[in-house]
């Protein structure tokens, strides 16, 4: 797979090519119109891009397994340092116990055990905490007249919220922030990423293990208590409790970062929509977040692995084949959305697939919505002259995440 940058740029199947990373909408939009179920020989996976196919695929979860990490024996891509191969096996064992890596029936009992904690109503009770955290972060940034949205707001906000959900005391926050940063390596491409990632995983296991014992003995209303109870009831093993606590920390971290950064950028690039939000920040923010999610989704694509041979559009997907389905392309499918390349914060209905669909529909969707609503509302209320400070924006080279590496803005 490794090749010189020149060769990589010339290969139309290179999903990491700079132009594909910079503008996935052109590349995957083209595939959606010309070859909607496309075999990519370079990455050795199917690329699925049409809205209708994406919804079909996730709905038939018994045909398309979520246990990709457990089932797929292909080496990591991009390659890792050869001496880190044992670390990769440890990461694989750890991640295989994630809720999202399980199929039914275990997935259903695991999901049921945590469902109550994440219902829209239960998450609504977190709105005031989110609002206070946004206020505090903007209070710190506002006097400077400028900020990197990523550093000042988008990265710290979700970690504050999630550590609060875990019941982490104030004095441990900094430590957890450090571990959360290490866990972000899960989606990176550097050859030495396994070392950083394992540091985060080991740190989480060490930190969370005694907390689970405490919550088993004396339950409270935090997320670790929910998992501790599920362990008592035999739904989760202890390892699964630890893994899924870590999952909560990283699943809600980079995704929320991207929602905030990509949404803010969409507003900066569409001043008419920014004015529309500013006219009624509290009222418009709910639909606006849905449009931010659709227009430039935090997650570009996600994976499945075929559990049996499946025919679709004249193609045969073989058992064991990997499949990547692109929300980034499905959300711009003209068969599903009128004028799909237009950013329209009043769009309704807006059945985007940015949280996935079907039984694996994002557990944290309600929380993400609340975080997005509170951020865009606060930005519109407080920083009315918000503008982009640099046109040199870069995205992390990921096939899965749509992650800006920084977003410098100013308002003074």
């Amino acid at each position: 797979m490794a090749s010189s940058p020149t060769a990589a740029a010339a290969d139309p199947e290179d999903l990491f090519a700079p132009e594909v990373i910079a503008d996935p909408y052109a590349y995957f939009g083209r595939l959606r119109e010309t070859d909607p179920i496309h075999w990519n020989p370079r990455a050795e996976l199917w690329v699925v891009t049409r809205y209708e196919d994406v919804v079909w695929l996730v709905r038939y979860h018994e045909l398309f397994s979520s246990a990709v990490i457990k089932t797929d024996r292909r080496p990591p891509h991009p390659p890792i340092d050869p001496e880190d191969a044992p670390l990769f096996e440890q990461v694989r064992a750890f991640r295989s116990d994630q809720l999202v890596e399980n199929d039914r029936p275990p997935h259903q009992s695991m999901r049921n055990a945590v469902h109550e904690y994440f219902t829209p109503q239960a998450m609504e009770s977190w709105r005031s905490f989110v609002r206070a955290a946004v206020t505090e972060l903007l209070d710190e940034a506002e006097p400077d007249g400028r900020m990197d949205v990523l550093e000042a707001l988008a990265a710290p906000l979700p970690v504050r919220v999630i550590t609060q959900m875990m019941g982490v005391p104030e004095e441990d926050r900094e430590h957890l922030r450090h571990l959360a940063d290490r866990l972000l390596y899960i989606n990176r491409g550097e050859p030495d990423r396994m070392r950083h990632l394992m540091e985060g995983i080991r740190g989480m296991i060490e930190y969370v293990s005694p907390k689970v014992d405490e919550r088993t003995a004396a339950p409270s209303d935090d997320f670790i208590s929910v998992l501790a109870r599920a362990e008592k009831e035999g739904v989760f093993t202890r390892h699964q409790v630890l893994v899924n606590t870590a999952l909560l920390l990283f699943a809600g971290h980079e995704t929320t970062m991207n929602l905030i950064c990509n949404g803010t950028l969409a507003f900066l690039r569409h001043p008419d929509q920014w004015e529309r939000l500013r006219a009624d920040p509290a009222g418009a923010s709910r639909l606006a977040v849905e449009e931010c999610l659709r227009y430039d989704p935090p997650v570009k694509s996600t994976q499945r692995i075929a559990a049996e041979d499946v025919e679709r559009r004249g193609k045969t997907i073989r058992k064991g084949d990997r499949i990547r389905w692109f929300m980034a392309a499905a959300n711009r499918d003209p068969r599903a959305f009128e004028d799909p390349d237009r950013f329209d914060i009043g769009r309704q209905p807006n059945p985007h697939v940015s949280f996935g669909a079907g039984i694996h529909y994002c557990l944290g969707a309600s929380l993400a919505r609340i975080e997005g609503q509170e951020v865009f509302r606060a930005l519109a209320e407080r920083l009315d002259s918000l503008r982009l400070e640099s046109e040199e924006l870069e995205y992390a080279p990921s096939i899965q995440f749509r992650s800006l590496t920084s977003l410098p803005v100013a308002w003074a």
Binding site: V55, Q121, P351
Partner: protein
């Protein structure tokens, strides 16, 4: 005369996420297309149904007037 309610589900919008089935398991279930369906459309729309309608990710659920089809909720 009091209005008759009906719980309606728009299958053009339903993505089959099953959020309504989790919120109101007695009222919604999956059909053979993996979309949600209403087990008893004439059932009184209780609090959990209203929750399901508010929070349906695609806005596929509503409570309508059984005679006129007018949307009463959300």
């Amino acid at each position: 005369m009091a209005r008759e309610h009906r719980i309606a589900l728009d299958h053009d919008l339903c993505m089959g996420n099953g959020q309504c089935i989790l919120l109101a398991p007695g009222v919604f279930r999956h059909n053979e297309n993996r979309q949600s369906e209403v087990t008893d459309p004439a059932a009184a729309p209780g609090e959990t149904v209203l929750q399901a309608a508010i929070y349906c990710p695609t806005g596929a659920i509503s409570v309508v007037d059984a005679l006129t089809g007018e949307v009463l909720f959300p």
